[in-house]
């Protein structure tokens, strides 16, 4: 093979490699676009029947406050499903736009577990933490809001653990500690402190 042919061959192979790279990039972009377009939010559990009043402790970024709001929701009979529906109603306020405390639209509460000894576990999806804005104030409002809403509707809850995608995580988004249980007595004081500072 002459040097000239060798050069042509190398250039030809490089062109093919380049074209394949461009095609691969195009396929990836298309897959990402489709994934973005898909609505991955959970389908709400169909609940029929009369609505019941519940209390949501809602975070407000503008004036850094937690405020209690009474809303009416149709709720299933068993306690755990009720807790899940209430937490999801709270999160819906944050994933809607505009919101007083915007969180990523892909954020979800996957499960809420209540145990007879007063322990509650809130299990969120990974995006809830991954897409959360990083900062002590923002993370604190989110966690206090979730814990306070649960304790406001289930007075027997004494301590709350927040899991992310079934697993324990060190922090929500780099600051607020999720390794330990939130003691409701303490979070209640912290929420009152925020309200009193207004």
């Amino acid at each position: 093979m002459t040097t000239r042919r060798l050069i042509f061959l190398v250039v030809f192979l490089l062109l093919i490699a380049g074209a394949l790279g461009v095609y691969g990039w195009h396929l990836k972009s298309r897959a990402d676009e489709l994934a973005r377009g898909a609505d991955s939010r959970p389908v709400p559990v169909p609940v029929a029947g009369p609505t019941e009043p519940v209390t949501l402790v809602v975070a407000f970024d503008d004036d850094v406050a937690l405020r209690r709001q009474s809303v009416s929701l149709p709720l299933p009979p068993d306690q755990q499903s009720r807790a899940l529906e209430i937490e999801r109603a709270l999160l819906a306020l944050y994933t809607a736009r505009p919101s007083s405390h915007p969180l990523a639209e892909v954020s979800q509460i996957l499960d809420v577990f209540l145990t007879p000894d007063g322990t509650a576990v809130i299990n969120t999806n990974a995006a809830f933490a991954d897409a959360h804005r990083s900062g002590v104030l923002g993370e604190n409002l989110t966690t206090l809001s979730l814990v306070e809403t649960l304790s406001a509707n289930f007075p027997t809850v004494r301590r709350v653990k927040i899991l992310v995608d079934d697993k324990e995580r060190d922090t929500l988004a780099g600051h607020v500690d999720l390794k330990h249980f939130f003691e409701v007595e303490r979070t209640h004081e912290a929420a009152q402190e925020l309200s009193a500072a207004r």
């Binding site: 970024d61 850094v64 900062g135 104030l137 004494r158 390794k179 330990h180 939130f182 402190e193």
Partner: protein, 420 residues
């Protein structure tokens, strides 16, 4: 010029330079290479002649080690450096070098800047060198290394070639040394020289007494430990846009400004992370709880809102505290009232300077694990780049230092009660 002509003939190369021009280019390149090599060699010889000494000041211990120049950088033998501080062993296995220092294990590799301390990855400023079984690390990486190996604050002053450890840091709780002998002439310095470790408190500063009463202990000095949060592989919050620096850089600058402001008001201030290294919350707590400062200040920055946030702990649900043994995670419990009092005083001082202030409690591991009064300060602005500006940080640091000065009497009383 065979290769050049071959390519020209084969592929009709688009750039047709005259052969004379290419020849001149090659001659110029060779001349440049020869010149650079000569300059580098002469520089290396000069640098080798200039023997450098590193002074290490640790509590009750002061010693010097020899620095060597490699790759135009100052290097230090790690075993020689650590030997006076505790049991240390360095073992070479092929290109790998394993260090064991007081139960902490380090893994280094010849020619690589990446290393591991107790499984955690660290990056040295330059490659690790292994010479006849002796592990050499760049002196500029000493802060990173010693912070990981030693459970105490570290300060490395590169220009002065001095390392301070724990309470030996200038301005720390109890100065361990009043006199540091000047470095001996290079020719007589052994690789490791331990300079008379003072076991008893220095008496030079004490006026002579005529009675036989024992010398009273050194007076307590009000000390603040400033923790620039995050660091190393943990950048903290990304502040709005790509051009804004990461939170870890913003808080380090802010910590340095605050240190100056506190020192200007007569308070001792130590920065826990005075460099870009990763520290776990446990490591931070060990450093704070063994130093017994009067106040621990953890600094944060965010683009959430426009305020200065003064934060105290929310200790978690009580775990395994039994009698005198306090659970690591709620060590803050006993100091929480003092932390809250100090937070209110600091918030008042900030408000009086017209800064919008929010005071609240949050579950922060660093605060929960501190056994001394502990407060987190979060500076925030929607413009991430503004957070890094001196014009933004300096007034807050000044007002914050005023607040700490106002809280000082109450904090000193708390320290006196907690550590009589």
């Amino acid at each position: 010029m065979t290769w050049y002509n071959t390519i020209r003939r084969a592929g009709k190369w688009p750039l047709r330079f005259p052969a004379a021009f290419v020849k001149a280019l090659i001659v110029l390149g060779v001349a440049l290479m020869l010149g650079s090599a000569t300059w580098i060699m002469s520089w290396s010889v000069r640098a080798a002649d200039d023997l450098q000494i590193l002074t290490i000041s640790a509590p009750n211990l002061n010693y010097r080690v020899e620095l060597v120049t490699r790759d135009q950088r100052a290097y230090v033998g790690l075993v020689e450096l650590l030997e006076p501080l505790g049991q240390v062993r360095g073992v070479a296995k092929g290109k790998h070098w394993q260090l064991v220092f007081q139960g902490v294990q380090g893994d280094f590799k010849q020619g690589k800047a990446d290393a591991k301390i107790d499984g955690r990855k660290i990056k040295l400023d330059a490659r690790f060198l292994l010479e006849n079984g002796r592990g050499l690390v760049p002196a500029s990486s000493l802060f990173t290394l010693l912070s990981q190996l030693q459970a105490m604050p570290v300060s490395y002053q590169e220009n002065a070639r001095q390392v301070f450890l724990g309470s030996a840091i200038p301005g720390a709780l109890a100065p361990a040394h009043t006199q540091v002998p000047p470095p001996a002439p290079a020719a007589v310095v052994a690789p490791v020289t331990v300079i008379a470790p003072p076991v008893t408190p220095p008496v030079a500063a004490t006026p002579p007494t005529t009675n036989s009463e024992p010398a009273s202990p050194a007076p307590h000095r009000f000390t603040v430990i400033i923790d620039a949060s995050h660091g190393g592989s943990d950048p903290g919050a990304s502040l709005a846009d790509k051009e804004a620096p990461a939170e870890k850089h913003v808080v380090l600058e802010f910590a340095r400004r605050l240190r100056s402001e506190l020192q200007a008001r007569g308070m001792a201030a130590i920065i826990l992370r005075d460099g870009d290294i990763a520290l776990t919350s446990d490591q931070r707590a060990v450093m704070v709880n063994t130093s017994h400062p009067d106040l621990y200040l953890a600094l944060h920055a965010s683009n959430f809102g426009t305020s200065v946030n003064v934060i105290t702990a929310i200790p978690p649900a009580s775990e395994d505290s039994r009698g005198a043994f306090v659970s690591w995670s709620d060590a803050q419990e006993k100091s929480l009232p003092a932390s809250r009092d100090a937070a209110r005083t600091i918030a008042t001082a900030l408000s009086s300077q017209k800064f919008p202030v929010h005071i609240f409690s949050a579950a922060l591991a660093a605060l929960n694990q501190a056994s001394v009064p502990a407060i987190a300060i979060e500076i925030s602005s929607p413009d991430g780049r503004e957070l890094a500006l001196a014009a933004f940080q300096q007034p807050i640091a000044s007002a914050l230092a005023k607040g700490v000065a106002a809280a000082r009497p109450a904090l000193e009383s708390h320290t006196a009660e907690a550590h009589p």
